[in-house]
């Protein structure tokens, strides 16, 4: 989200009115539609601010809809102009600095002429800027009708009915003047103002598009969500488009579902009681991961001597006593220096749940015993676990080890069906304990959907946040193949995920990938996933895992200590 070019505007609108409508940068004129604000792509920052603040002011101060019955195009246009001026007047009363943003953009003068469109521009300026003097009687009449107290900026037109009445009166005058008006080609001025399409529901056939109520930062859910459950949150993230070499803002919708309280067929009967213990295999594997993962909590300084401390350093005391007897100045650092510890770290374990994770982790010679046989209906010890089962087992063991080391972690599984439906199941929240239920929830995951990796990585990065001295780490457990149903360029999602990894690195979030089932040497086409994973995470950030017994070694390499 932070990488999005609209992020500062989103923050700004939240600061002004606690509004967070979806923002889109495209086209060459602003408008409000589908609950989102659309802004021109190439405006400067202040231009974007002017347009966004005007549109957001409609969301805050405008009625949800206007009645168009009996309004000819001229009256409609005037009603929209008066509503623009009314919302801006209210906004400027609350935030006086907005006047410095909007007023300089009103450039209409009497020299523009007396055509209807010129008069509209002059009236818009007269209503926005008390210092502007316009000699035209119609403009002066509009100003008189509009303001209760011009000096205080108090509009008299407070209701849709009053606005409509004023618009009809001003429109009647235009009719008397026989001024022509091309409603089709008209664009409101100044250019930062939207085209009012939200005001006229009749123009939009059945779909009523009033100025939307306050939206959450995540924006609306897609109209026809492919997942049966209602997500607990929807968050939009940008996506890197390799062809245009820029981020497409708010391109992917990540639907977060909580799997923490989801009923498990094999779960405990008493949810209030303590969770079941993890299976002994996971515990044994977790213990073997303590050593490699300890690098995440390693003290940031070496132990030495200090002039202040808690415990005397005996060698330093002896040296000091010797120096005293030799009548020389001893080293005053008599204490053992405290070791500076890293702050509390946070980790995200991301499990790739896509359909391709249903394939076996590795083909074994017939009759060979699996190092870590997995229980479950879909796998036997003879043909080995699926990649998803291996990922679940690995994630359980890593979560147990992290818990033992005092590091908190979130475990989530993800899959996608196009950019509007990237589903994230939170299997373990940051503060939940890693217990037997975690293993059960992970083992209950079923493969399906595709792998839109960049969105999942950006979501994890945003949740890990900024700052703190502790490590922030994302570990992906995946087959390493990125794919989605609405993407046909094989390099598109790889480049997007690589961009997400690099952006995370700039925010201090490290990322690594355990490529499940990928061979570490490239003898065949089966190694393509590892190649993709290495392109995304780099060689040092990628380890191929073909057997769970090698998990400690893989993690040690990823930690850079092996």
């Amino acid at each position: 989200m932070i990488d999005s070019p609209t992020a500062p505007l989103t923050h700004w609108l939240r600061l002004l009115w606690n509004q967070a409508p979806p923002l889109h940068l495209h086209g060459d004129a602003p408008f409000i539609a589908d609950g989102a604000i659309h802004l021109p792509a190439c405006h400067p920052w202040r231009g974007h601010c002017a347009a966004a603040a005007h549109a957001a002011a409609h969301l805050v101060y405008s009625p949800r809809r206007f009645d168009t019955d009996g309004l000819v195009p001229i009256a409609r246009t005037l009603l929209a102009l008066l509503e623009d001026a009314r919302t801006e007047a209210l906004a400027m009363r609350e935030l006086p600095g907005l006047a410095r943003l909007w007023r300089p953009l009103h450039t209409a003068t009497p020299d523009d002429g007396t055509g209807f469109e010129a008069l509209l521009g002059r009236l818009a300026r007269a209503l926005a800027d008390p210092a502007y003097v316009d000699p035209h009687p119609w403009v002066r009449k509009g100003r008189r009708l509009f303001y209760l107290d011009e000096g205080l900026g108090l509009p008299a037109l407070c209701t849709p009915a009053a606005l409509r009445d004023a618009a009809l009166r001003l429109g009647h005058d235009i009719g008397q003047l026989r001024l022509p008006f091309n409603a089709e080609g008209y664009r409101p001025v100044p250019a930062y103002r939207d085209d009012h399409r939200w005001m006229w529901p009749a123009d939009q056939q059945a779909a009523v598009q009033p100025p939307p109520a306050a939206q959450t930062a995540g924006g609306p859910a897609p109209p026809d969500p492919p997942w049966p459950e209602t997500p607990s949150a929807v968050t939009r993230h940008p996506e890197w488009d390799r062809l245009i070499q820029r981020l497409r803002p708010d391109w992917c919708s990540v639907q977060t579902h909580s799997a923490v309280h989801r009923a498990l067929s094999t779960g405990p009967a008493d949810p209030a009681g303590p969770g079941p213990s993890p299976d002994p295999h996971a515990h044994a594997l977790g213990r073997r991961l303590l050593s490699p993962l300890r690098a995440l909590v390693r003290p940031v300084t070496r132990r030495g001597r200090s002039s202040d401390g808690e415990v005397f350093d005996l060698d330093a005391l002896v040296d000091w006593q010797l120096a005293q007897r030799l009548r020389s100045a001893g080293d005053p650092r008599l204490y053992r220096a405290p070791q500076r510890q890293a702050g509390p770290g946070r980790v995200w374990l991301l499990v790739d749940q896509s359909a391709s994770s249903a394939t076996r982790l590795a083909s074994r010679p017939h009759g060979a015993a699996a190092a870590h046989p997995l229980p479950g209906p879909t796998a036997s010890a003879d043909d080995g676990p699926t990649r998803l089962q291996a990922a679940a087992r690995s994630a359980t063991a890593v979560a147990l080890a992290l818990q033992a080391l005092g590091l908190r972690c979130t475990v989530a599984a993800f899959r996608s069906q196009g950019r509007h439906a990237v589903r994230l199941d939170i299997v373990k929240r940051l503060t939940d304990p890693a217990d037997g239920q975690l293993g059960q929830r992970l083992q209950a995951l079923r493969p399906g959907g595709s792998t839109r990796l960049g969105a999942a990585l950006r979501h994890a990065t945003s949740r890990l946040g900024d700052g703190g001295s502790g490590v922030r780490w994302v570990l992906l457990l995946s087959d390493g193949e990125v794919h989605d149903i609405d993407v046909h360029d094989p390099h598109y999602l790889v480049d997007d995920a690589r961009h997400a990894v690099r952006a995370a690195g700039r925010r201090g979030v490290r990322m690594a990938c355990l490529a499940l089932g990928a061979a570490s040497r490239p003898p065949s086409t089966a190694t393509r996933p590892l190649g993709e994973a290495q392109r995304i995470f780099g060689r040092r950030g990628t380890e191929a895992l073909t057997d769970l017994s090698t998990l400690p070694r893989c993690l040690r390499r990823l930690m850079g200590s092996g």
């Binding site: 500062p8 700004w12 939240r14 600061l15 943003l101 401390g309 005397f312």
Partner: protein
Amino acid sequence: MGHADAHALAAWRLSAEPYYQPTGDEVAHFEAACARRLPLLLKGPTGCGKTRFVEHMAWRLRRPLVTVACHEDLSAGDLVGRWLLDGDGTRWQDGPLTLAARFGAICYLDELIEARADTTVVIHPLTDTRRMLPLAQRNELVHAHPDFQLVVSYNPSPMAREMKPSTRQRFCALGFDYPAPEREAAIVARESGLDIARCAALVAFGVRTRRLQGQGLDEGASTRMLVHAAALVVQGLTLAAAAAMAVADALSDEPGVHQALRAALDASF
């Protein structure tokens, strides 16, 4: 309190009444907890008045106030004391917690959660019915003075560490939050000497910044920040310049958030 006790804690006594504007029944609740010697946990965002409240209550109850700002390098020795070396050998020096427990003072551990877990557990024997502090290094057991009162503060922001239940459940809690805008403006005016209208404008901007909590900012502007801004206005700065210096530029270095804060500042004044 004997002469030696009074001398040991003389430096920790408050000489004047610290200004505090109650927002509810917190004064009565604090006094009730003190009467029953129950340790207190003050929860609330940064700069909302927790420390000032404790200072006010220490003055009100006429007890010395020993304050420790906790941090991740704070060791158990920093709290209970340590052996020091001098020309004659070693001598023991009480830490602030021992001093307060031995001679009877309010010990205020500010942002306790910032301390390491091995430091936090030192307070456990003082927070239950034992009310004692074992000094293992000195082989001494300090029984807390009847006037000893332990108060800790904790800022439960989304980015903050969780307090362990074994520590949390030893305390009664008092929740704090930023005052309502009118009351906050009055506090800022009282603290800074600025007129109420300009204080209200500063508070309105501060309230806006709190909307970004968890959306780019860990926390919005504190009352303390707004008092700083008002003080700068009293010194001759404009409202916008003071708010930029004391609030917008101080809150965030993240470019997008900072840009939005600056633009909101432009819109507000």
